[in-house]
């Protein structure tokens, strides 16, 4: 176990090293800090002196080591647009993104496990076919389009009159197909401050209403994947010998499904799922753009539009760190819950 742990940590450090090289290369090639610091009228000789003073003429390796040394202390310099340390800017935007991801993760787990298990237990039921059909349609809808459709239906509202409105049933059907809208769709509303830079949307009912549409959109991208994954794994487990044996012994079906089979179903789901939850961060860029949700993704996109290089670099490093931590944790958890996994890479 210790060897496995060390190997995973070494791997994580290696990845962070690669990310830092990329991030540094971006910083080195994209932004000219002198340009940002001084005006047009400053003569070239002064610029050169400033460049020398800041160490921008040092060799690549020296500059990289300085960058890495600062990065370890979470010091990435100042954002051009906010005029604050980039880490402070990120910390202010991080809670919004994390709350969005947390709400989506909750929705995904709460819906995918029962639906996935049901469709595995009753593979031929019409409800299963319905879920499978919906899930393949769900995979085919890009997350920003789901978001736009949700805004149209629940925030703006739709009024359609395909049926004659002067008859009772026609008006009723028209009402059924139309929506009033009115759900808040832009921004976070008025989140409650918990401490420091952490404002939460979970504390009040109005806060939650702001969270609903973005969280549902974000969840919609992963939900079909999880349903299909859980279903496939569960179907495989139900074919295994020990489930047949348990059935032959007369253990109640409910116990077999939810105690014996589900446990082994969740093993691969943890690995694949854990990594996918990490990739939700990538999709927050799209969701936050549509809903103007003031999280890291929207901040990153604005930073790109304003060429705020230090902020871009910090975002890459921090998101890289989040990915590496999730992946390493997932691997470690998997190693813990599944003792048969080859921990050291040596033949067992």
């Amino acid at each position: 176990m210790i060897a496995f742990l060390i190997k995973r940590l070494y791997h994580a450090l290696l990845v962070m090293f690669v990310i830092s090289i990329i991030a540094f290369a971006i910083q080195d090639n994209l932004g000219d800090p002198i340009q940002q610091m001084v005006g047009q009228s400053v003569p070239e000789s002064e610029r050169e002196a400033l460049r020398e003073e800041l160490g921008l003429n040092d060799p690549f390796l020296v500059q990289y080591l300085r960058f890495a040394g600062n990065a370890v202390q979470f010091d990435f310099g100042y954002s051009y647009t906010f005029n604050q340390p980039t880490t402070e800017v990120i910390m202010r935007h991080l809670p919004a993104t994390l709350e969005l991801v947390a709400a989506s993760t909750f929705l995904i787990i709460a819906l995918s496990v029962p639906i996935g298990v049901y469709s595995a237990i009753r593979p031929r039921a019409w409800l299963t076919r319905f879920f499978m059909g919906v899930s393949i349609v769900g995979i085919s809808i890009p997350v920003f389009l789901t978001a736009i459709v949700l805004i149209q239906i629940f925030a703006i509202g739709i009024s359609v009159t395909p049926f004659p409105a002067d008859t009772g049933w026609g008006a009723w059907l028209n009402d059924l197909l139309s929506t009033d809208g009115g759900m808040p769709a832009y921004g976070r509303g008025d989140p409650v401050n918990v401490f420091g830079t952490w404002d939460t949307n979970f504390a009040s009912l109005t806060g939650l209403t702001y969270l609903v549409l973005p969280a549902v959109s974000l969840a919609s991208i992963m939900l079909p994947l999880f349903i299909r994954l859980i279903r496939a794994e569960m179907l495989e487990v139900l074919q295994s010998e020990y489930v047949k044996f348990a059935r032959a012994k007369g253990i109640s079906l409910r116990r077999i499904y939810f105690i014996h089979a589900l446990k082994n179903t969740m093993l691969p789901v943890i690995t694949v799922g854990g990594v996918q939850i990490g990739t939700l961060v990538a999709y927050t860029i799209l969701t936050e753009t549509v809903f103007q949700w003031p999280g890291m993704g929207l901040m990153f996109l604005n930073a790109i539009q304003r060429s705020d290089v230090p902020l871009i670099v910090t975002y890459l490093m921090i998101v890289g760190l989040i990915f590496v931590i999730t992946n390493t944790l997932v691997d470690l958890i998997y190693g813990l819950v599944n003792p048969t996994v080859k921990l050291t890479g040596k033949p067992a």
């Binding site: 990845v15 690669v18 971006i26 090639n29 994209l30 393949i136 349609v137 995979i139 085919s140 809808i141 890009p142 997350v143 920003f144 389009l145 736009i148 459709v149 805004i151 149209q152 703006i156 739709i158 691969p268 690995t271 694949v272 990594v275 990490g278 990739t279 961060v281 990538a282 999709y283 860029i285 799209l286 753009t289 549509v290 996109l301 790109i304 539009q305 060429s307 871009i312 890459l316 998101v319 890289g320 990915f323 590496v324 992946n327």
Partner: protein, 318 residues
């Protein structure tokens, strides 16, 4: 090749067409109405996209044909529509139907181009990694692992943003199609590489490979002529899914402003430009291209599902 083959094939080989007619692939296709419908819709969509310059009522790239006074007209079934514009017009007064046809063309070109690049990179790397093993394998697969752990979309967005920052917005727009093919192709090759590597590993230990090696064939020949044909079914299956993914990735990049410019829109940039007008009630500018995108991706995904069920390759899990 020809000499060895003709001496070994004693019985006349059935022609490709008759082999196809007797294949399980065709048999199951005939019995699957969803696959038939998907293929039909897919062919129609590709057809109208390819023939857009001849089918479309107007040329959305031609500024002379655009009438700004006719902007934001609704589609034909809504009050206030103009019969000249079947699907209405967008905010610049372009005929939406024509713009969608041209946009689907752009989306399909980028989708197929990106998948061709991914397949080229991924199949070569996967073959190398699987066949050579050792350090090459460790290096390539570590690279693939790292890239996949960041989600392909994230990689595409970051690379797109950086390329745009380096070249500047105007140059980026001019070369958007090849750049997007490059970005999406580079972002998604690991999917191919892992799948191909997994099946190469399974094939490598089989006797025909040993036989070929004993006969003194070069590694390159064994890889491309002997092993590659036997890994084709998983490649076909992921190719369909990857085309759908590439089209969605392109749409996502365009939606973020990192893709096709509005003057030369793909379906994604149409959705983006329409989104600005959704609050003013002009839902069709964003939702009709959106519907087109979803139908296109859906039929490709359905075909991919069907193909996976039929060919049933041991897809790499996870």
């Amino acid at each position: 090749m020809t000499t060895t083959n003709s001496s070994m094939d004693v019985a006349p080989v059935a022609s490709r067409w008759s082999r196809f007619r007797g294949s399980y692939l065709l048999y199951s296709f005939k019995r699957d109405p969803i696959a038939q419908l998907s293929l039909l819709v897919f062919i129609v969509l590709v057809g109208v996209a390819v023939l857009a310059p001849w089918l479309a009522p107007m040329d959305p790239y031609d500024l002379a044909q655009i009438d700004i006074l006719a902007s934001e007209l609704p589609p034909f079934w809504v009050d206030g529509s103009d019969p000249a514009y079947l699907m209405g017009t967008d905010a610049q007064g372009r005929d939406l139907l024509s713009t969608i046809l041209y946009g689907a063309r752009v989306s399909l070109i980028i989708g197929f181009g990106a998948v061709a690049l991914q397949a080229l990179l991924g199949v070569s790397f996967g073959l190398l990694a699987g066949y050579l093993g050792g350090r090459v394998d460790a290096f390539l697969m570590r690279l693939a692992d790292i890239q996949l752990s960041f989600s392909t979309l994230m990689v595409a967005i970051v690379v797109g943003a950086l390329v745009k920052a380096v070249f500047g917005g105007a140059t980026y727009s001019d070369f958007a199609v090849p750049l997007l093919v490059l970005i999406i192709g580079l972002a998604e090759w690991p999917q191919y590489a892992r799948t191909v590597r997994a099946s190469v590993l399974a094939e490598r230990s089989k006797e025909y490979v040993d036989a070929a090696r004993v006969m003194g064939f070069t590694s390159r020949r064994i890889m491309f002529r002997h092993i590659l044909p036997n890994t084709l079914s998983p490649i076909f299956v992921i190719s369909t899914v990857q085309v759908a993914n590439a089209i969605i990735s392109e749409a996502a990049l365009s939606f973020l402003g990192l893709g096709m410019p509005e003057t030369h829109p793909s379906l994604g940039s149409l959705i983006k430009s329409g989104f600005d007008y959704i609050q003013s009630g002009s839902w069709w500018i964003t939702l009709i291209p959106g519907a087109m995108l979803v139908i296109l991706v859906l039929v490709i995904n359905l075909l991919g599902d069907w193909l996976r069920d039929v060919l049933n390759p041991r897809l790499y899990k996870g």
